[in-house]
């Protein structure tokens, strides 16, 4: 199949639709409005459901209902709207309802700005709402990946009965790139959900619930969720390495920032600096094994985490590197995106600092 030029938001929608998403609930917020707009046209054409909800709160609860009834369902929003969804996400996680939530991040805190940011990393990877839970978090860095990862998110969510999040930034949302779309999946291929409250004509009744009021019942339930997260950790960590084999400085970034970092690595190499980079695809589970492997190499002198935040993923990088090598940070915030030259300078500085501290 030939490639077509698509917006990141359209690619997300197509990835969802082609893997059986038949219900979308959304609410307008910049910079993700193209998602509900696209879905409002597409869903009726394929026999799916689109509702413009009265709020992000309502939208995530519509997902709870639809996904709970066994339909592959999705919602999307941007940072402030995703904060509103956190209540619903916590309930969904506890009730073990698989679904997909898209966050096209904008700059915060508060109403913040509408330009690209990555300030919701903690919220996305550490649970986000109340209680002990996690989402599977995938971070696309291109329009093709926006499509592919959304497609995959539905399978992962179903397989583990854990909600999955696509964590992208405003740049991915607006970017247009060539995409090869996956074929439309036959809905019959998608495994039946034997837990879904679908009014299934006479079989034993099913209940979806996040109220487990007896401590001796809630604890095993949460432990069971934890076991699932451990299984996800074992099976699903993904990262891409670039030129790390002989690198002295290993840069790391996710999403579109990883692409600027890759350009910076090329420039550093051109200038004779042995640089490489790691791009996590899964932010939860965090691909700590990749970082540990880099840290174990004698040529690796330091790490540099580059983010559109004031230092969030860097904490997971430090945990993964576990003190074996120094980990530095370079970030921009407020909606500003670092230029390649800034990253080149920060990498050189980090390398010099690591050598000075040795």
């Amino acid at each position: 199949m030939s490639k077509i030029l698509l917006h990141g938001t359209e690619a997300i929608c197509e990835g969802a639709i082609r893997n059986g998403c038949r219900a979308f609930f959304g609410y307008p917020i910049t910079p993700q409005n193209e998602v509900p707009e696209y879905m409002s046209v597409k869903m009726p054409q394929i026999g799916g459901v689109f509702v413009q909800a009265e709020s992000e709160v309502a939208a995530i609860n519509m997902v709870y209902g639809a996904a709970g009834a066994g339909i592959r369902a999705m919602t999307s929003s941007s940072s402030p709207g995703v904060s509103l969804k956190q209540e619903g996400i916590s309930y969904i996680a506890c009730a073990r309802i698989p679904c997909v939530i898209v966050n096209i991040m904008r700059a915060g805190p508060g109403l913040g700005g509408i330009q690209p940011a990555q300030g919701d990393y903690f919220q996305a990877t550490k649970g986000g709402g109340h209680g002990d839970y996690h989402l599977i978090v995938l971070a696309p860095s291109s329009v093709q990946e926006a499509c592919d990862y959304t497609y995959r998110a539905f399978d992962l969510a179903d397989r583990y009965r854990v909600p999955a999040m696509i964590l992208a930034d405003g740049m991915i949302g607006q970017l247009m790139e060539p995409v090869e779309l996956p074929p439309m999946r036959d809905l019959k291929e998608i495994p039946e959900k034997d837990w879904a409250t679908s009014g299934h004509y006479g079989a034993a009744r099913r209940v979806l619930n996040s109220l487990i009021i007896q401590p001796d019942e809630l604890e095993p339930h949460v432990n069971e969720m934890q076991r699932t997260y451990e299984e996800i950790y074992r099976n699903e960590r993904r990262a891409v390495e670039y030129c790390t084999e002989d690198a002295e400085i290993v840069l790391t970034a996710y999403g579109t920032v990883a692409r600027i970092v890759k350009s910076a690595v090329n420039e550093l190499r051109k200038q004779g600096v042995k640089a490489g980079c790691v791009r996590p695809i899964t932010l939860y589970p965090f691909p700590d094994d990749t970082y540990a492997a880099c840290a174990a190499r004698p040529n690796t002198k330091a790490f540099l985490s580059v983010e559109l935040s004031l230092g969030q993923m860097v904490e997971d990088v430090k945990l993964a590197v576990n003190g074996k090598k120094p980990v530095y940070f370079y970030g921009r915030t407020g909606g500003n995106v670092p230029e390649e030259s800034e990253i080149v300078a920060a990498a050189k500085k980090a390398l010099a600092q690591a050598e000075a501290e040795k």
Binding site: M176, K262, E340
Partner: protein, 177 residues
């Protein structure tokens, strides 16, 4: 790899020719990316987008230092001219902007885009005049790819298509002189 920044006033069609450029590149099997600036700028203010056309995989989709700037109005010319790579090209809409970039390490092409578009039949085709100039100066995509995109965009609107083709050719002619 060529990085092009296209800027102008909202409604002048910079995003439209940016997309057309990316689409043309894609049809020739090249790697392309198109990144529009978004936000309040979309609402009647300035509009701009970054297009990259490359033979290899595109890492950063940003055009902080473009090889080519197309500026369809004066504010975007002055805002972005300082960012153009030394040795780069600026195509500026001379009908409604001066063309003094304040630097001599690049080539500025003063193209009377509005006037030529009016001659071609519609001032709204000024973007295609600039596209013609870009094509003539860089040859980064084939003329046929651009015209095919244009034709698809104006299916059933033959007159509009013709006007745009005339504007495109006027743009080619303007920089050939």
């Amino acid at each position: 790899m060529i990085k092009i920044l296209l800027a102008g006033q909202g409604g002048q069609g910079v995003l439209s020719i940016g997309q057309m450029l990316a689409e043309s590149g894609l049809r020739e099997g090249k790697e392309v990316s198109y990144l529009p600036a978004y936000g309040p700028e979309m609402r009647g203010g300035t509009a701009n987008c970054s297009v990259i056309i490359s033979e290899e995989e595109i890492a950063s989709p940003l055009c902080n230092t473009p090889d080519v700037l197309i500026a369809l109005n004066s504010p975007s010319f002055h805002k972005f001219a300082p960012r153009v790579k030394p040795g780069g090209i600026i195509i500026v809409n001379g009908s409604i902007s001066d063309s003094y970039a304040g630097r001599d390490d690049l080539s500025v092409y003063d193209v009377l885009a509005n006037d030529l578009a009016i001659e071609a039949g519609n001032v709204r085709a000024a973007n295609m005049v600039a596209m013609g100039a870009l094509f003539a100066l860089t040859q980064l995509v084939k003329e046929r790819s651009i015209l095919n995109c244009l034709q698809e965009r104006f299916v059933g609107k033959a007159a509009v298509y013709e006007t745009n083709v005339r504007a495109f050719r006027a743009g080619v002619g303007a920089v050939a002189k």
